[in-house]
Symmetry: C2
Subunit: 316 residues, 2 copies
């Protein structure tokens, strides 16, 4: 029985090194990225027994994804298909003011065909918590229904079901995303979202504190957690707003920081930590992850604890 089962699409990410552009690059780095697997890796690094479920093509590319996740130490239980597509993401990082480029090339990917019958639903039912994300629901109606089934099954005997809005404008419109993801909200206890995604998908304005409050009230979430990049993160829980300022970082690569936050936050919640401790751990994990190239974190629990012990986090 796993502490945390995450379910969702994972891409092979192709990205030029440094600040080279896709348009002229001759060499690209292959790395694995997906919200559900990134969260499992981060939680695993914090000491959680994490399991990732998905579906991959039985090809060199599908095996490439699986091998990298195993290398990062998480358990996997993966359905496979003959002849399907491996989802891809092309990513060009950029220093300001140039915009990063992210091309989600996941049309017709094998993950979009996964059904509950193909996944280890017994693991989902037995887990202490389950996690899924909106980007997987964007793949296809089949994938959206599978995420719904996972969150409902996980809700039955588990501590909690968690969900990240994870809005990808290149995959669907904000309207479509809203209509689809809000369908699963009744099965979700802990909602994660970046501040930008709350504004885009849930069409909220105003201060993040108010947004968290009204979202929790409207859909009756146990907890709403909003990440705010350089402004830290906040959580609404039991009528109270908790917040944690960001830790100043010499940022090398901002990808993966949001999922690293979620992984560490969930890991601490599963250990029985309170909301403030979980927030602080998430913010520290995100800060350390920003110093590492690539979307998969290799930050360990000891580094997070050391950073948190090292002083007054709000004045870093």
């Amino acid at each position: 029985m796993a502490d945390l089962v995450t379910v969702g699409d994972t891409s092979l990410r192709l990205s030029p090194e440094g600040n080279e552009r896709l348009e002229t690059a001759t060499d690209v780095r292959m790395r694995t990225t997906g919200t559900a697997s990134n969260v499992a890796v981060a939680a695993g690094r914090m000491g959680t027994d994490a399991l990732w479920l998905s579906k991959l093509p039985d090809s060199a590319l599908g095996r490439r994804v699986l091998a990298e996740l195993h290398e990062h130490g998480i358990e996997t239980d993966v359905a496979s298909s003959e002849g399907g597509r491996q989802g891809l993401t092309f990513y060009e990082s950029a220093p300001q003011p140039r915009e990063t480029v992210e091309i989600d090339d996941r049309i017709e990917s094998t993950a979009g065909t996964m059904t509950p019958g193909e996944l280890a639903m017994d693991e989902v039912q037995d887990a202490a918590s389950v996690f899924a994300a909106g980007s997987t629901m964007a793949l296809s109606s089949t994938a959206a229904e599978t995420v719904q089934a996972i969150l409902r099954a996980g809700g039955s005997g588990s501590d909690f079901a968690a969900f990240d809005l994870d809005y990808r404008p290149s995959m669907w419109s904000a309207e479509k995303a809203r209509a689809t993801v809000t369908n699963v909200f009744d099965a979700v206890e802990v909602l994660f979202a970046s501040e930008d995604d709350v504004r885009a998908v849930l069409d909220r304005n105003g201060q993040p504190r108010e947004m968290a409050h009204t979202i929790a009230a409207e859909w009756d979430f146990h907890m709403v957690v909003i990440t705010r990049s350089e402004y830290g993160a906040l959580a609404y829980h039991d009528g109270v707003i908790h917040d944690s300022d960001a830790i100043e970082t010499e940022a090398v690569d901002e990808t993966g920081q949001h999922e690293a936050f979620i992984g560490a936050f969930l890991a601490r919640l599963l250990e029985g930590a309170d909301t403030d401790d979980a927030l602080d751990a998430g913010v520290a994990m995100a800060a350390l992850t920003r110093t590492i190239p690539g979307p998969l974190t290799t930050v360990g629990r000891a580094e997070v604890d050391a950073l948190l012990a090292d002083g007054d986090q709000t004045t870093f």
Copy 2:
């Protein structure tokens, strides 16, 4: 007015360096490959005024393809689409006896949506020759119809329309390929095929000489050219079989050699060379191209001429 207009799908090819495997590679090389554009580049290197027509997504990846083709010196006239997919090919080279891996990831690519109305049909009509390939017809029925229209339009006032079987088993079955490509044979004067493709798609057995003869008779081709890798190439023309032995090569990368052959062969035909001279030039260009990494040739006319002048080719 171009001497040669080629039309067809071009992929971005992702390939680990050397003999690394896709399954474990962290770095891959991005290169452009497509039968029609490879042929245009090879013909251009031989001195032909070559133009490539196709459709690409208006994205960093589409621009990447275009930039590399311009770097290789051919003219392009390309329709573009917002938001479409750039076709991809993953390629793992392998020394014997390991099999090379080629994953054609071109489903739903923008090139599959190209219609004659989007392409420069005036250039096709005015060109001395046109060229297209079976792999483009495999993309979609729209692309198949476009290839048909191009070959028919090119046939009207031009010297000849040329076609390469270019069978990709990962894109369609041999039966489907046969049913589709034979539809355009009435518009084709010069048919190119590898020996393997003739056997698979046209379901012929026996010696290559007999195959060339019976194919020419059945579909009334002006010329049938069969490439045979390490056994050279042969051509049926006006009731006579011409052949040219391969040139021994220290092979570095065998991709692109078939298209390099076609490009050089067409270049020489367009200059009025006879079949034997065209065959020799094709075989020499293929041999030199095998010594270069990547599918796009950078062999020049002078190198081909020097190799041909350098001795008795059959005893190299």
